[in-house]
Symmetry: C2
Subunit: 281 residues, 2 copies
């Protein structure tokens, strides 16, 4: 209950010595157009950087938090548990995501958060962050933008859960992951590392692991997905995109006020490590 606000570890400035800024600050800079001053402020709020092992519950459902958790590296997920144990993963959290943005305004989390692989996490004090966003319009807008994008991703998943077939939905998930991971520089060769088990994928898509297995096999058979262990490659982006009915618009890659990233204009195209990738319609 008692919040310990000791800054347990001070992290080196984010622009130091050619070190790559972390995924969170990078994303805010690219997408929300945050300047160095604001980035420094946010970075200064980092507390308690720590490494967390896989399958650790970062936040328990119904718990009261005084601080936000920023995922610097690794994957995690937000999920809800029904009374009888059924689980729905409502959001996959990737490097640069805030695990519990809602904690800024709301007292009890209505979801749980669990790491899916070894992660690096820092926390931000909610009061300090609110103060910062009162002082800097840039920070306020950046937080608003993060919330809006999260909202759009949830709505799009609604559409997937309600109106897309299992095959379309799985293809859609791969599309979304490729785009989101590209933004934070976590793709290689048109693919990425995905730590999820098939059961976890099932809890994202609202299906059973048995069915995920069969549908995934279908995508592989048709050459839309290649897998080696937990490394996935999407050899034919356009075919996959079509299969999924995927449009990148809801990710708002254009950023706040069209400030957006180094990803060029509609239809958001840029060169991947190995071949050009076109996101979108």
């Amino acid at each position: 209950m008692a919040s310990h606000r000791a800054r347990s570890r001070t992290v080196s400035p984010h622009r130091t010595s050619g070190a790559i800024p972390d995924a969170f600050l990078t994303r805010l800079k690219q997408m929300a157009g945050l300047g160095d001053a604001d980035l420094d402020i946010l970075h200064g709020l980092y507390e308690d950087e720590r490494s967390v092992r896989a399958r650790v519950e970062l936040i328990a459902q119904g718990t009261r938090t005084q601080r936000l958790h920023v995922l610097i590296d690794g994957w995690a997920c937000r999920y809800r548990l029904l009374a009888d144990g059924r689980r729905q993963i409502t959001e996959l959290l990737l490097p640069g995501d805030i695990c519990d943005l809602d904690a800024l305004y709301v007292r009890n989390s209505d979801f749980a958060v669990m790491t899916l692989m070894p992660c690096t996490v820092v926390t931000l004090d909610r009061t300090a962050l609110r103060t910062a966003s009162q002082r800097s319009a840039g920070i306020a807008d950046a937080l608003g933008w993060l919330g809006a994008v999260e909202n759009a991703m949830l709505a799009e998943r609604n559409a997937c859960l309600g109106r897309r077939s299992a095959r379309e939905h799985l293809a859609h998930l791969f599309c979304e992951l490729l785009v989101r991971l590209t933004v934070v520089g976590r793709t290689r060769g048109g693919g990425f590392h995905m730590p999820l088990t098939q059961e976890e994928m099932a809890d994202v898509l609202g299906l059973t692991s048995v069915h995920i297995n069969r549908v995934l096999q279908g995508l592989k058979t048709d050459g839309l997905v290649e897998q080696r262990g937990h490394d996935f490659v999407l050899p034919d982006w356009n075919a996959l995109r079509q299969e999924a009915g995927f449009r990148a618009d809801y990710l708002h890659l254009e950023g706040i006020d069209g400030i957006g990233g180094d990803f060029g204009a509609t239809p958001w195209a840029f060169a991947g490590p190995s071949r050009p990738i076109v996101f979108g319609l």
Copy 2:
């Protein structure tokens, strides 16, 4: 394209002459603890109050907006259309809801909004609102709270779509509607008016209208729902709640920082017009 910012109609102050403040301001006052000064500011931003007929598209998918739409009265919905015409309603918009909060931070709407009955709508200029939220921490927090609750509702619907049966999901929808409508004073006698057709309900739940018809009949047969035309009554709240596995926590009735409404404490209980109603766990 050109934004006309003429204030076409000036609305009388929200606290005037015993008139009930509109649902939007009421909700912000109760849930976000907004003071009269902030409410006045927001009210002063109202522009273009107008009446809109049923089944009118307020916002088109992929459209660029300069202003937010506040639903003062009536029902509307936010939805997504897939390429082949499948539709998913991602949010039912009730009196007091903002139709497109995301427009504050994002340029192109990734959804459409349509009225479901005759509505009263006002608009707010996004720039003016952002300015207001920079000047008033209360307004900034209120907007943040609205966004957080919206996210929570979307996440809960995810869980419904992915992990609840049609019957549970429909029961859950009725529970949610009763709570949300109570907050804005739109319930009567343990029930409410719901303008949706069965096809629209189907687009909310990700089902077909045929199946909605059968499942709804099931709920009526079991005495969980009563219907006369578009008026619904929920005669046995506890039974319905249990059937749905409904918990009100995600609606965050406690409000910002626990400031929340006149609804009492956990487990959110208050007297309905005809009998005591207990929301939630």
